[in-house]
Amino acid sequence: MDLERIDNLPTDTLSGFRVRPGKPLPFGVSSVPGGLNFSVYTSAGTSCTLVLFSRSEEAPLGEIRIPDHYRIGDVYSIVVYDLDYEDVEYGFRIDGPFSPEEGHRFNPENVLMDPYARVLSGREEWGVEPDWSKQYQYRSRVAFDDFDWEGDSPLEINDADLVIYEMHVRSFTKSETSGVKFKGTYAGITEKIPYLQELGVNAVELMPVFEFDEFENSRIHPDTGERLFNYWGYSTVAFFAPKAGFAASGKFGMQVDEFKQLVKELHKAGIEVILDVVFNHTAEGNERGPSISFKGLDNKIYYMLTPEGYYFNFSGTGNTLNCNNPVVRNLVLDCLRYWASEYHIDGFRFDLASILGRDPWGAPLSNPPLLESLAFDPILSSCKLIAEAWDAGGLYQVGTFPAFGRWSEWNGKYRDTARKYLKGDEGQVGEMAQRVQGSPDLYQWNGRSPATSINFITCHDGFTLADLLSFNHKHNEANGENNCDGGDDNHSWNCGAEGWTDDIGIRNLRTKQSMNALSMLMTSRGTPMVLMGDEFGRSQHGNNNAYCIDSPISWVDWSLLESNSILYKFTQALISFRHQHPCLRVNRFDHGGSKSLPSCSFHGTTPWQVNWSADSRQLAWLMTCDQEDSGIMDAVYVATNMAHYATWFDLPEIPSDYSWQLCFNTGDSQSPYLNPPPTFNDHGILVGERSVVIFQVSPRET
């Protein structure tokens, strides 16, 4: 029986609009038969006016002061009928006290963006300077959210089996050399999926895609006259809206569909999507920043404030979102549930996640309710949750992040140790052994697993891999801050000349060191992450903090794929090797290994004897397991020699029904990877200076 509901009908006419009291949940805008339901929260506001616009019109279509009896608790909600879903844009005016010393900053003159807005207009096309005279800059719109997923769902690949590829949406394909039609967009990534498949990664981690404003703090470089942007976007305007400027269809308001299409196509290719999310602060800055949404809705609820009403700055960017307030916590939870359910997102990486564990006054909590809620949420239960386990306020929690059995971490210690060992620093062998086996020193005592550790040597923050091997010092002049920005603790070594050189010896050493770095990364337990373009030597010309650069410095130069093809093919072979060898992806610290060999053992130039002394620069590891289906032993032996002279390594003994096969040798510049790998009958191998060799075992044919 098709019975029409009586609550489908308007009860009042206000300001010429047919309306009725709305439903307080869900927050934001939702469609109901014949109309749209608007719902917004303010605890200290004294009145709420819904402001409606026609698309791109400066003057409102109408304003509806929401009657007080439409309010339940602290939530104003109203259904407005007969609106054109596609054309309408909306915002709120909230009245209330303006008394910053008490934490209140209400101003009914301002039209505020809906914090739950799923589509924004106002920044539809990347880099088009906005008209700053307009009073309402970031305009909330209505999303259709009716995408045809054709049976797609998140892939749920085991954490330990992932190979993550970190990328910036625009940088990945913006260059002419990318060869794609829709450069610098979500669709551009979709066009590059065959490349990602060929490379062998099974997850992409996208730097921020929530609506941000590239013109926030935008400025002109004092020397070059170039426009500097908020390019990376670690400054959220709208948590529920994908960035329109990253969509080829953004000018038509179809970024939601374009982004979903990217996710769907990546999933078809077996590639997960992880979003880098920024909940520690917002684009509203400190007391001098703009009032976009939260400040005018309920400043005191959303931000951590000093007793005098100033903004705490644990994020290093002006303000700190008050994440452990129950209202804000729910907003974060609603947001992630939305992305997981509506966009089929597979995981999230939380920028400066340690902030999310601070109480409203900034003190670190031992059981932060937000982190716990995320860990046990029913919708997020199979999403990867990855913490950047530190913040700009001095909290460093690698190894101690409140994990609730769910969270993994960007392992900054893996990065630092691998870099130091790679360039031949003294005293690194012992710590390197910890890193290679999944950092049990950090994660075993608290019952966590190797895949808790996201292993990486490079990421968007800092040098690219090629630059790590080409520069001793950062060269950030292009950022317009006199080279004062960016980290100085890079643990980099330029291999003999600062920057570009035509010295063939130095160039070959850099290529070899790239291969060495990737070899260690791909044969470590834990989850490896590579930075876009590192597989073919992408450079930012020594810039280790290109957060503001929208130019070829940041963009991936795809011509390197050809000129550095040996590095690319080597990386591809390595990733494939990792996928083939379960012994590298064991996700237990108490794993028993194979019948005849332990799960992970360390060796020196002589098997079973490591030189752990400070001047040692040789370390070998042997990882084994018995394959589940066949019972055949899987074993990989990696010997690394980071000294400046060649060194003989005796191979460990293996059961007589197996033989060694040499798969990689970075010291052999002609054929650093061997496919098919030849059987190796010698009892040892001379490992060249600063070189890595990798062996696998194969059952002998009987």
Binding site: D84, D146, D148, T185, A248, M254, K264
Partner: protein, 108 residues
């Protein structure tokens, strides 16, 4: 926006001219709901359509579902390049058979 019904071989041709957006899409939807005959394949002639908004593209998908239910073929004719690009990046394109002109429809 104008909508007319024509025929071409066995095809019933919905010829649209003008912009299809949320202001006009209701007319197109009403036309589709009331004017289509059973048993004949449907061609949507869009040569004279310079722009289609999100609502317009969604109506194409509705039409695609409807013709599937009716058990007849659907072809889009003369889709402007910019509209085709938007359809490609948003995943709409893959649901349709598209031809440059009515004459380009292959014989069954």
């Amino acid at each position: 926006m104008q909508v007319t019904l024509e025929s071409f071989d066995q095809w019933q041709v919905i010829r649209v001219s003008g912009q299809v957006d949320s202001k006009t899409v209701g007319d197109l939807r009403d036309f589709i709901d009331t004017q289509l005959k059973q048993g004949h394949p449907v061609a949507l002639e869009l040569t004279e359509v310079p722009f289609m908004s999100s609502a317009g593209l969604r109506t194409l998908l509705t039409l695609q579902r409807k013709t599937k239910d009716m058990g007849v073929d659907l072809a889009l004719i003369g889709v402007a390049e910019e509209i085709a690009d938007t359809m490609k990046v948003t995943g709409f394109y893959q649901f349709f058979t598209i031809h440059a002109s009515l004459e380009a429809i292959p014989n069954p």
